[in-house]
Amino acid sequence: MRTEKGSIFRVVTHSILGLVAVAMILPLVLVVAVSFSDENTVIRNGYQFIPSEFSLKGYQVVFQNPTMLLNAYGVTICITLIGTVISLMFTAMIAYVMSRKDYRYRRATTFYVVFTMLFNGGLVPFYILIVKYLHLKDTMWVLFIPYLLNPFYVLIMKGFLDRLPTEIIESAKMDGAGEYRTFFRIVLPLSTPALATVGLFISFVYWNDWWLGLLFVNQENLVSLQLMLYRTMNSIEFYAANAQYLSGNVDISQFPSITTRMALAVLGAGPMMFVFPFFQKYFVKGLTMGSLKE
């Protein structure tokens, strides 16, 4: 009787979670399916989960002139690597200091960081600071510097470091290690789950960013992947809507705008989607917000 009740409970649990999981993934499947579909059948039948006619034309169009795409990949990979490494260092260093109960300026430091979460100058002073006073507009710097320290990630990191036993740090000190040595040689290696989790979050912020580009980039060679996606979405719509204005040498009826668009979306999101499952095992261990509270 009891086990039967338990198994009913289990069936219900799994079916709810299963349905939610499917709902999460289906929209992605749709985009991938459309990107591999034939343009004309999409126009005729609408978007479908199973392509009624398979075609690689969307991808062909993208790869016919790959300079723009490759350049965007280059920019994005570059800022993601540089930004993530520096940002993770900054985050770990200040989070460690905040987690040390014997650090005299711990409360002041925590307040200094958390206050920026609660109150900020808003877009306009930030924009003017970057453009007029730091002169970072249309530079590589502007694409990663503004995101170097996110207080939220500092708190996640601190939550993890709070739970490292203090004995480890004390014994390192007894052995004559200075603070730097203790941090880099002992604390950092012990923090791999948190570093992996926070590092992945940070890298996604960089990979997915269009905001800094939208605000500060006009130069073509600094267009990142997401900004390129955004611009293409608009220009494809522009061509589709204004086909009659195009000169004769562009045959708009042959231009697979829908499937090209979806192919670009897949190419923009794809690489990170492959990276992300490998970091799964660290997530729950690294994401302990329970001790966020001071």
């Binding site: 109150f119 306009v124 007029k132 997530f283 994401l287």
Partner: protein, 312 residues
């Protein structure tokens, strides 16, 4: 005597610093970064009270008192974007909280291998950029071809031109936001649940409690501090909106401004398209001040109810 004391105090203060110097230096890069990118811009807030001109800079521009604010608050925009921002955020907070808690509790009931599968699926949308989600939304909402159009006609309903009918957008944006962000909140609550000591559950089992009773009497009460911390943080953000959601999903369609325009998109447009720096700074200041008051107030209220749960 007095000089001696103060001299001593001086050395101890310096001595304290000496003792903490290495740790301080570790935090220095982050401190300097926050100084430049978060504290310096606060000075720039005086732009809200100025008739800003790029060539004259922040300090050279002429004062104009509260004109920027007056200009904003007499327009209908003030009410519209404030209402939209607050209502959407309340919706997001409530819906995400309920769904994420429910999912986290359910995840706790299945085996750890199954958790991994569900977790991957739940988390996937969180890692997509808003631009890509914009493309996905398009595949649902596009006229004639979109999935919703197909569904609508399948049930014999009148087709809807989604990008032009503003009254449907509160539902759409709530759904999109839930889809993208629920995985993150679920994981945070799930991490909180597995942090609960198993001994509570064992004791309850001995007393003959069933699963639902355990969830109600153990899991939820012990999660309350975490829920409240996250709630305070999101209430603080109630005057801020996720720009990407409100910019890319409605495709910046001006037909939809009445129900999709929020403070952040408005400030962006005022700054970039209209070029009214002074007024956008004023709106930004309004946003920051009200947001700050909301955090302080909610923390104060929670402190009154149960001081253990307060953020500070």
């Amino acid at each position: 005597m007095r000089a001696q004391v103060s001299a001593e105090r001086g050395t101890t203060r310096w001595g304290h610093f000496q003792k903490n110097r290495q740790l301080f230096i570790l935090s220095l890069p982050a401190l300097l970064f926050k100084l430049v990118f978060n504290y310096l811009p606060l000075i720039g807030l005086i732009i809200a009270f100025k008739k800003f001109r790029y060539d004259l800079g922040i300090f050279g521009s002429a004062w104009n008192g509260f004109d920027n604010f007056r200009f904003f608050f007499v327009s209908d925009n003030a009410w519209r974007i404030t209402r939209n921002t607050v209502l959407y955020n309340v919706g997001f907070i409530v819906i995400t909280l309920i769904c994420a808690l429910a999912l986290a509790v359910l995840l706790n009931e299945v085996s750890s291998r199954a958790v991994k599968v569900y977790q991957t699926a739940l988390f996937l949308p969180y890692f997509l950029s808003w631009v890509v989600v914009g493309y996905i939304a398009l595949s649902f909402l596009e006229q004639d071809r979109g999935l919703l159009h197909q569904l609508w006609t399948f049930f014999g309903l009148e087709p809807v031109n989604w990008y032009q009918e503003s009254n449907r957008w509160p539902y759409i944006l709530n759904a999109v936001n839930l889809w993208k962000t629920v995985g993150f909140s679920t994981l945070i609550y799930y991490a909180g649940i597995i942090g609960i000591s198993p001994s509570y559950y064992e004791a309850a089992k001995i007393d003959g409690a069933n699963r639902l009773q355990m969830i109600r009497k153990i899991t939820l009460p012990l999660l309350t501090p975490l829920i409240i911390v996250l709630l305070i943080i999101s209430i603080g953000g109630m005057f801020r909106a996720d720009f990407g959601l409100f910019y890319f999903i409605p495709n910046n369609s001006s037909f939809l401004y009445s129900s999709t325009d929020v403070i952040d998109t408005y400030v962006f447009r005022a700054l970039r398209s209209v070029g009214d720096v002074g007024m956008s700074a004023a709106v930004g200041l309004y946003q920051s001040v009200v947001g700050f008051v909301l955090v302080v107030a909610s923390n104060w209220i929670i402190k009154k109810i149960n001081s253990d749960n307060a953020l500070w």
